[in-house]
Subunit: 376 residues, 2 copies
């Protein structure tokens, strides 16, 4: 079977950035307003008062200092606390919708790095934790604007969206369906966030990534990463969930109900998912006769600093250095399926031929997905 | 590379059925109510009156006599005209959500036909025109209840959902990622229908299909179909579209706006998509050195009787017999991505070893996808 390489990665970062301090100012003003409006019930002990948050709490709990969002103004508006639909956000035939736009820009960046143009690509996989609409597929809209050939498809896979999209693309090349695949991964997860919820309002940022995959013998780029192995595993859990979708319309008046946003049982996720992740990686390495010390780098899903450090430490048996398990949480937050790819995109420059690493996602589902790669 | 066979197909049909006559009674009562409420504007020529529909018009335009829906009562309620959320429709950890439930039932049916149980499956692809929620993936919920191994993923691909799901599964087997794949295809497209729209309220029905794919050398079933070839093509179009999705919440008050439902430019679709479909199939046959007369059967997407007959006639150069291009529109309506698989499920009993056929989808995107299969 043919070998597959990663020959380019790309990024699109929405221009609107919001710091912990700004988010906290909005949240605390909301908490004050809420407590004032519900004073009687709170005083009577019927409902709890909303506690203030702080930038220090957020940074300690998550490692995040700021994140980019598709819209900040709406989030900071006390009467709204939710992104506004960006102008032209739905798009039309001439102008891409917001999510397609993000994917197109990341795609251009990745194609450039691989030294290719859209028409060199014969299969496009668009994968995200949340798709802007169901049809026509966002991937087909991206295909149209980038001029890629063949077909495109949409996948939805929570925080494993990018790795599962990559595995689908790698399979397509290995079995001869395609020679060159563009994996597009536009994440607009802020649309699912309840910015009135102290525990989760700060977690996520928006971003898009893209990755070019090629049949190894065709690739001409100067930064090639051979895919040595892929692995995927899923196990059902409701601990990261949102009910939002077509059923929301049937479930009267529920658009803003709490369960229609991202809801997480954070402690359960930490306790249940991390052991799955570490055994998953150990098992994959064992099957390849590799040790964790054979990995120069672990580009992990960017969940939060504590989960990331716990996983890396558990695998290594000691504290990781920054280079061994780089994080991008500080500037981007948890960026859903894009996390491990952004970590790879931003932290591979100083690596040498023969160096190996793992790109590994984990999250809602639960799902875990990984690629072990080697620099050529 | 290994050969792949289809060794089982399964169906789940929601118990609630509605005839053209019943749908028309509800629609006409709505039209009367609308015309009464807007009498002044209609009399002044500011807006057009809503025309009555008829069962005969629907049958002539579509070939549909009845369809099954996840809920009929809400659709027939003049004050609602939309399915109600079925009891327990969102599900929880113990009880599957509606879409997972449909998929699980179809999956059991397909596994039984293949002589397998859930644990024989090592990859599950869940594909639909519309997913009930984004996370956790519906496919992972189905995996949990059927006890399948390995991983599951969700794909969203309009009326090509089943064929694109099958191609993804076939690729996974061919490249060694899996030995046995279960493709689950639960369609709840009625959630996207504006039942107050005369042109589209009658088109769609709900259903779930499932297909078992196996490495040919492992398959032990008594009705095996070798996959000779697969092909996929997409070309962007807005002629079948809905804006509904995460952006709906940001786009204030738009839940019931017309563009949040299925909207179709039917004539443009007919004119643009059918030539793409016929050249697609001709090209695929040519690459395989086959003639259309080598196909004993064409299991086409069930769009409407006129599109289906036009495509079959164009390909054959004459009127098709029922057996050559079977339709299931009469009882099920257009069932989104499930159409070609249901046609295959219900119309292959009398075929002989060596007989070939094509399972071909086409629809929103635009997308076209096909499998050429041969009975072993």
């Amino acid at each position: 079977m043919v070998d597959v390489v990663i020959s380019g990665t790309g990024l699109y970062v929405p221009p609107n950035k919001v710091t912990n301090e700004e988010l906290v100012a909005a949240f605390n003003a909301h908490a004050d307003q809420y407590n004032h409006e519900h004073k009687a019930d709170i005083d009577a002990g019927l409902i709890p008062a909303k506690q203030h948050s702080s930038a220090a709490f957020i940074e300690k709990a998550s490692g995040i200092k700021s994140r980019h969002l598709v819209d900040v103004e709406g989030v900071m508006d006390l009467n709204r606390m939710m992104s506004k639909l960006p102008e032209g956000g739905h798009g039309d035939f001439e102008n891409p919708c917001l999510q397609a736009h993000m994917g197109i820009e990341a795609g251009k960046d990745a194609l450039k790095q691989a030294g290719l143009t859209g028409e060199d690509i014969d299969y496009l996989v668009c994968s995200s934790a949340v798709m802007q609409r169901s049809f026509p597929a966002i991937g087909i809209e991206v295909q149209h604007h980038l001029g890629t050939k063949g077909s495109a498809l949409d996948m939805v896979m929570g925080c494993s969206s990018a790795t599962y999209g990559l595995i689908t693309g790698i399979n397509a090349i290995k079995c001869g369906m395609a020679d060159r695949v563009l994996m597009i991964n536009p994440e607009i997860f802020s649309t699912m966030i309840n910015f009135r919820d102290r525990d989760s309002h700060f977690i996520f940022g928006d971003i898009a990534t893209a990755v070019v995959l090629e049949r190894a013998d065709l690739a001409k780029g100067d930064d090639l990463w051979k895919v040595i192995d892929t692995k995927a595993d899923t196990k059902y859990s409701n601990n990261i969930r949102s009910q939002y979708g077509p059923m929301t319309r049937l479930d009267d008046g529920s658009l803003m109900r709490q369960d229609m946003f991202f809801v997480q049982e954070g402690r359960k996720v930490f306790k249940e998912l991390l052991p799955l992740v570490t055994s998953f990686i150990n098992e994959q390495l064992e099957n390849l006769d590799l040790q964790v010390t054979d990995l120069a780098r672990m580009w992990l899903h960017q969940a939060n600093i504590n989960m990331n450090m716990y996983a890396a430490k558990k695998l290594l048996g000691r504290e990781p250095t920054y280079d061994e398990a780089p994080t991008v949480l500080e500037n981007y937050g948890n960026i859903a399926g894009a996390g491990s790819v952004v970590a790879f995109h931003e932290n591979r420059e100083n690596m040498a031929s023969g160096d190996k690493g793992i790109i590994c996602s984990f999250g809602a589902g639960y799902s875990i997905g990984s690629l072990i790669v080697e620099k050529l």
